[in-house]
Point group: C2
Chain length 269, copies 2
């Protein structure tokens, strides 16, 4: 683990990341010693910092530290956390403040590729996502909603739970974005009120555009899940996981999901 | 600073408090070497832990460490943070997990008593509070909404900003609870969708009951602020601060606020 460039796993308890969740993070797949979609992750991180008014630690340093850590392993999960740093009385921003960057490597979860082939079972969570346009789309450190939603089940055969907003629209999984296929069209929820704008979600939409697959970004109801021809979820570690069941219902791994997995796996940067 | 009983200010970056804001905190006034309302704070902390499924570190240890730290100073702010501890892959709760407790002392803000006498100017924040009944009332570590709201102004003559929920109801200040006086009645917002259930708020309601002051807990509109006879805000450090202005409007420090300040200052436990 590298904290502000130093090998340690200790941070100051005065850090605003710890005190208030005042920061952002990225979770990046490392394959063959390379961080996948690194530039996209760093761009999202920079934009998130701009939205929260956090000083961006700098493209060059984050890129070089990420590549250096990734080179030391074959497969792994690279996590980057950036916080506003230490200081300030209460919630008020400090007059000057140096951001904290934490880069850490974690074991690659071997189950990922198995589930990409077999598909996953899912459920609907009771915990809802609150709406806040100022935070929507951001991968920020305020993650209690996801922690509570993930704590709703312990069944190891359920690999994801979908979260609804206060209006009953399905927004995303606890750790993934959601896509529904209806006939030949892709649907994925809009994220202007809540949810995380995932890197793989964006890449899947780019692929759809290139390949001429119709897609629409709009609210999804629970009954859209029930009537879906295909469902899949995405994030930077799992890539694309087909959904073969949600609550009681079951469905197969369809041709659009299979094609997207193939195209996605072939275009990792 | 005491972290799990050891004098240090360093915590593990793997702590779920840092990773996800997966924890709670208390801010306690220390007066004459004693933590004010300590038992009430620890009770709220225990209840918060129960709601989030976090192991409570234990009444005895928290009480003895708090009193030990408080004895070393005359006036100070004592902050207690309790997190779920380290561990777990992603949001999923670890199979077993030992909570982290952080107790720290901070300088007493001398301005508190001056503003109790003079009253404060306030504003309305643009940042809204999102609704989430699972988290409502809790003093949890997911505080980005408050950080963004407090970042809206830098004018040192404005000492608090009020936050509205998505329906436009006024819920609380960025760091305080809100009371409005209308004729001889107290009104304070209900906190079942968002907001923090403050210790001083509860004490003020107890005093009102004892003294026969009518009060009602219900939603407050912006126009209720405009038509208020008196307004005051409460938290554990400021006690009660009269509000003498909000945005353009101004108002005096009324008899009910004055009485409540006197009664409150006389009954600190």
């Amino acid at each position: 683990m590298l904290i502000n460039g130093i090998e340690t796993d200790q941070i100051s308890a005065n850090d605003r990341g710890f005190q208030y969740g005042d920061g952002l993070f990225e979770t990046i797949a490392v394959e063959n010693g390379k961080p996948v979609f690194l530039l996209r992750h760093l761009l999202r991180l920079r934009r998130g910092c701009e939205r929260l008014g956090i000083d961006f630690p700098g493209q060059e340093i984050l890129e070089s530290e990420s590549r250096k850590l990734a080179r030391s392993v074959h497969s792994a999960v690279l996590k980057i956390i950036v916080t506003r740093g230490s200081g300030g009385r209460g919630y008020r921003l400090p007059d000057s403040c140096s951001p904290t960057r934490v880069l850490s490597l974690h074991p690659w979860p071997e189950i990922v590729s198995k589930l990409q082939a077999s598909g996953i079972r899912t459920r609907l969570c009771k915990s809802r996502l609150a709406s806040n346009p100022s935070l929507a789309g951001l991968k920020h450190l305020n993650r209690l909603e996801q922690v509570l939603a993930r704590a709703e089940w312990t069944d190891p055969d359920i690999h994801e739970g979908f979260m609804l907003d206060r209006d009953g629209k399905v927004v995303e999984g606890t750790m993934s974005n959601l896509f529904v296929v209806r006939r030949t069209s892709l649907i994925t929820p809009d994220l202007d009120q809540c949810g995380v704008e995932g890197i793989v979600r964006t890449v899947v939409l780019e692929i759809a555009r290139e390949k001429g697959i119709e897609f629409v970004v709009k609210a999804i109801d629970v009954c859209d899940l029930e009537h879906a021809d295909e469902i899949f979820v995405t994030n930077s570690i799992i890539g694309i996981w087909p959904v073969i069941g949600c609550e009681g219902g079951s469905l197969g791994i369809g041709p659009i999901t299979r094609n997207l997995i193939r195209w996605f796996n072939g275009r990792k940067e």
